[in-house]
Amino acid sequence: MALFVKTGSLSPARALMWACSLAVVAIIVVPLAQMVVQPSWQDLRDCLRDRQVLGAIGLSLEAAAMAAAISLVCGTPFAYLLARKEFAGKKLAESIIDLPIMIPHPVIGIAILAVASPDHWLGKFMLEAGIEIMGSLTGIVAVLTFVGLPFYVNTVKNGFEAVDQRLENVARSLGASFGSAFVRVTLPLAWRSMLAGVIMCMARALSEFGAVVIVAYHPMIASVLIYERFTAYGLKYSQPVAVVLILISLLLFVMMRMVGKPRGKGP
């Protein structure tokens, strides 16, 4: 940068760095910007009055929030275990957690349907318990939890690792039980990572399409509705729904990040 200021010219390496950075930003911004500016105000207003659109976006948010809540409850102890304990098979456990990131999403849908089928003991059990996966909110939440969990667990695991274990040790030596040390020391220092994990998990869940469309085309979440409108009516009718989803998601995540922002200087 100093070179740039002094000489007014860029070295080839710096020029390449700036060009690549601009290209990366452009790859993300150009299609999204086009999507946002293309629909007219009238299209967006009509879209916001469309009960089907609002219902689908609401369902997307609801299912994503439920998946994030399940990840929070079940993923937090697991993330803590991975951050704090050494055990046989730990590397395998960490790799298994990453699997949903790598597997093609329709495969996830097919795998969940296979487990939920009456031929599988778990499917049989769920059928007897009246739990429906195919074409239900339960199925959507199952899929979204599957795809969102790795993002939650990995983020929170990093958060726990950043908390010095000796702080917990000292708390224990001062009389705190394991649970009390977690609540009074680890949690206040790691809750921002947990919130970031929830955001990541929800973000991933909101964007899911490939697995959901196999497990539950109906009730229709926003991504499936966008796909349906695109295939049935074309680009013009799918774009406003996508814009509304993007704006609502953006608003939600900005709010969550503001809540999680540290006040003043951190420790």
Binding site: E86, D164, R166, L167, N169, V170, A171, R172, S173, L174, G175, A176, S177, F178, S180, R184, V185, P188, L189, K265, G266, P267
Partner: protein, 246 residues
Amino acid sequence: MIRIENLEVDLGSFSLRRIDLDIGRGEFFILLGPTGAGKTVLLEAVAGLLPVTGGRILADGQDITALPPEKRGIGIVYQDYALFPHLSVMENIRFGLRYTRMEKQKEASWVEGLVQRLGLDKLVHRQVSRLSGGEKQRTAVARALAVKPAVMLLDEPLSALDPNFRQDIRNLLKQIHTEFGMTILMVTHDFSEVLELGSRMAVLNNGLIEQSGTVDRVFSRPATEFVARFLGNAAPTETPGPHMPR
């Protein structure tokens, strides 16, 4: 007070083997050894923070090997203080009081006295990130003392301090030991600390106790070649005191 019998700790890449130590009530016992000898591992095993694979730890004749850390009444102070960064000085000091059965009035006067005794009275509302090294160490000591532990484990409490603060904290530890009659097990690799503070000591090397006994005895009559070499090669950093071998 604390008796360690044939203690074994296996951490995979490192292990403590056949550790036998007897630390009397009110004794200032020093654990000396090179880096990586297992001094901190031994302290954490005594505090119940690491799983023991063999042997026993007894406190006042009672087997505490299987007790969780919070039931042992053993406080620990780490080299880099391990203060809770999200709490103020006073909140750090008061952290463990909710687990004690002290009456509220007694608790308040005890903490007030402790804070004054350790010169922290003007810092109680300060965030710990804004303390100097010496202030942090005094807060860590006050926090450990607040719950009146029977035994205090100090893991190189002076090594991270500026030399200006070192003597200050050293004097403080001596006074605390005398005033509170506390049993202290302190890890160090500084000979001057051994000579000034310790009554008895043990030399640890590669997970094994090479020698234990009075400071005079260990310095004047090293039992193994390692102890002789380890004690002989590093000169004391201070003028020889009354314990100093001639």
